[in-house]
């Protein structure tokens, strides 16, 4: 133990990710397929860091837009004569044309003024408003969607990724797995693991499920594993596979949107990752895509004006991306506030004219049959859903 050759260095080198070996799986349990409460599938992607909606979906038809900022070195494609879409999303342009891609613009959560990522994300995931302190709401709004529904199984809701996102935390059972989690177990070791957990049901059952999940990722990974720098691809593949089974509600994150500088370099890459994620979901879901709604939401938008370092700072209103066969796409949903100095929130940010929760609420209404009073009373307590924008076909 006091061997001086054993330093922390050689200890640490091993703590990276681990290989995998196919094996007989004594810990495997049979996964039973139960009936799910809905046919619709809802994917909520949390874009952490505050996506610049004004760069992603550019209001080039607004006469004040050009004076506020540069195009950050990126071209855009006209969508409807008023908005142009950043060409980082060009891979999903076909979805716009087939009506499987839409945007909501000038939207935000009720979060205002402090512009902290942490608090903004907390409010986004808690689904709380200014009427209730975020800290009062202990659970996430996707979990409350599950709480209000009878017949929820352990895998109806699935948080994918290494973090256990607040949006799915709560009293309803939710599965959590990251496809990069691997169990390097030979058949013998797996037998020994089954042996050591034999008498402790908590550990025994969790280990059995972990082995089954790790194996399901392995069999899925025939395409050669996650692309470098694209952890979301494996996540999206896994999410699609789960939604082909019992899973109906999925959430995961794509981080890195905090473009205070170097937006010209960062944004194309981020948007390609988002496109790749959406296309991977569509491919994996096959025909189920037609019953699927993907909502990509962020904690707040960014300043209307470009800052002094080729980026944008924390703002208020922004954009939300909606994709899926269930979405009535090919349009931008918005009540456009304008971009003159007087139109801006605090004279600096895009003025929000709609609440992202309202869009999410109407999606759950149409896709999962949640009635208005449940949405306004429980899932988003205190929200006035307002008029139905009819984003679901």
């Amino acid at each position: 133990m006091n061997d001086p050759t054993w330093t922390r260095r050689n200890l640490l080198k091993g703590v990276g990710m681990l290989g995998c070996s196919a094996a007989a799986y004594p810990l495997m349990t049979d996964i039973t397929f139960a009936s799910a409460p809905w046919d619709g599938r809802l994917v909520v992607i949390v874009l952490r860091g505050a996506m610049d909606g004004l760069d992603v979906l550019r209001p080039v038809g607004d006469r004040n837009f050009a004076a506020l900022r540069s195009p950050f070195g990126a071209t855009a494609t006209d969508l409807d004569g008023f908005f142009s879409m950043h060409d980082g999303l060009s891979d999903v342009l076909p979805l716009w044309r087939t009506g499987d891609l839409a945007f909501a613009h000038a939207v935000s959560t009720p979060y205002r003024d402090e512009r902290s990522h942490f608090d903004g994300q907390d409010m986004l995931e808690a689904g709380s408003g200014q009427n209730i302190a975020t800290a009062q709401v202990r659970d996430g709004w996707l979990n409350r969607l599950l709480q209000t529904t009878p017949g929820i199984e352990a895998e109806t809701g699935f948080a994918i990724g290494r973090d256990n996102p607040r949006i799915l935390i709560g009293d309803a059972p939710v599965a959590n797995w990251s496809p990069e989690t691997q169990l390097r177990l030979g058949p013998a070791a797996e037998g020994l693991l089954a042996e050591i957990y034999h008498d402790d049901p908590l550990f025994r059952d969790a280990a059995a499920e972990a082995v089954a999940l790790a194996r399901s990722v392995e069999t899925m990974d025939s395409s050669g594993g996650p692309a470098p720098g694209r952890p979301e691809r494996a996540i999206a593949e896994f999410a699609a596979a789960k939604m082909q089974q019992d899973t109906r509600v999925v959430s995961f994150s794509i981080s890195g949107w905090d473009t205070h500088r170097g937006q010209a370099n960062a944004m194309p890459n981020l948007l390609e990752r988002l496109s790749d994620t959406i296309l991977t979901l569509r491919q994996g879901l096959g025909e189920t895509w037609s019953q699927t709604a993907v909502l990509a939401v962020t904690e707040f938008g960014r300043t209307a004006r470009e800052n002094g370092s080729g980026g944008t700072d924390h703002g208020t209103g922004g954009a939300m991306v909606m994709a899926g066969g269930a979405i009535r796409g090919g349009q931008v949903y918005t009540r456009w506030p304008g971009l003159s100095e007087a139109d801006l929130y605090d004279r600096r940010d895009l003025m929000p004219t709609a609440d992202v929760r309202s869009y999410a609420g109407w999606v759950m209404h149409a896709l999962m049959g949640q009635d208005r009073s449940t949405i306004e009373g429980t899932i988003f307590p205190g929200l006035d859903l307002g008029q139905n924008p009819n984003v679901i076909r």
């Binding site: 133990m1 006091n2 061997d3 050759t5 054993w6 330093t7 922390r8 050689n10 200890l11 640490l12 080198k13 091993g14 703590v15 990276g16 990710m17 681990l18 902290s116 942490f118 608090d119 302190a133 800290a135 009062q136 202990r138 290494r162 973090d163 256990n164 607040r166 935390i169 599965a175 959590n176 797995w177 990251s178 989690t181 691997q182 169990l183 390097r184 030979g186 013998a188 070791a189 020994l192 693991l193 042996e195 050591i196 957990y197 034999h198 008498d199 402790d200 908590l202 550990f203 969790a206 280990a207 499920e209 972990a210 999940l213 790790a214 500088r261 800052n307 002094g308 370092s309 700072d313």
Partner: protein, 453 residues
Amino acid sequence: MREQDFAQVRFGYGFGPRVPAQNRAEMFAELSRPDRAQQQFPIMPMRQALQLGREFRDAARARRNGEIGAEARYDTAQTALRSASGNGMRASLARIVEGVDPLRERLTWFWADHFTAAPNSPLTRATVTTYVDEAIRPHIVGRFADMLKAVVRHPAMLTYLDQQVSIGPNSLAATRTGRGLNENFARELLELHTMGVGAGYTQSDVREAAELLTGLSIDFDDGFVFRPRAAEPGPETILGRSYGSDERARLADIDAFLEDLAQRPETAEHLAQKLAVHFVDDAPSTALAEDLAAVYRETSGHLGAVTETLMSHPDTATLPLRKVKPPMAFITSALIALGLGGSEIAGLSRPELGRMIVRPLAGMGQMFMRPAGPDGWPEDGAHWITPQGLATRISWATAVADRAADAAGDPRSFLDRTLGALAGPRLQFAVSAAETRAEGIALVLASAEFNRR
């Protein structure tokens, strides 16, 4: 089984080559000695952190104004805050792994969780361990009221629960700024920190408490400041008692309220139950909770006396160990079992810290000091032992064991040193049947026996 066979597991971070078996009385006795771990692995004091905060604020302002050189200045300021955050984490973990006073560490983390103040800004991220070091750790065997007062004066808590933006609706500051009351902290003070949810206070008590707490605020020079001009004028009535007067608002009125809260029988019961749940069982015996509450009441909330009762109670002298180690306790106790010392943790580079501790912790479900809400981390073992959580523990144990196998020696003797009489026959068999040393050691660390406390 003798209590020294497991006291260090239940009330500390387990055994290791540097952490010998102790019985409960020996562990408790350490608390009356000087805090060696704190001296050995210091954490940046608030005063110094505020300097970094001021510089960051000024650099951000300069950058917004497009001043020359502002980019580099901003980077430097941001890096300074980040490294303060990393250093605080290293020192906190090093104190645990050094193993000189495990009960002190456990109590510190218990009360830090009770008074959760998760960071929500670059400065609070840099000072979250400072908060624990200054507001919590000095009071773990002192009076609860003193800990409460220290917490209520700390910028980390005031920021986390929005107290610094809460302004008396009829104060001078409100008429000037148009801002108003924020009940967040007042509510959590009653619900989480003292009396407990459903303990008989009303919405009116919450509102009056929120009005009383106005004036508690922060700045970058002193950290905590009391601003009488932001305080709601006039007395407030909370739980049937009146605090303050029509005179200028005083911090002493808030302290009087906190003293009263700390003495409430509901507070005694709430804290006693939490301690029993944390250290013994999710469903502790009523005798244990009642005995702890009784001592709390008799001593007017002396935490040393309450801890002594816990450490000498019949319920803590016996098995089984029903609790699950949260991820941070799992990782630190494994490092202790493998024989690492605090200086090795303190010396980790930023990438090493990320690879070895920060990311595995997140994969196990515990972002360092960032629970989802002010109620802190869950006590229920099922929250941690999920497929994802357990698989990450197993993977981490495997990776660490691969590197440690040669030094850790024969897995059977490692098992004996690490768990001793706690190891069940199936674990003993599996460890002796392992194909390699590394596999044997990984099995010990992954076992239910090692993951419980």
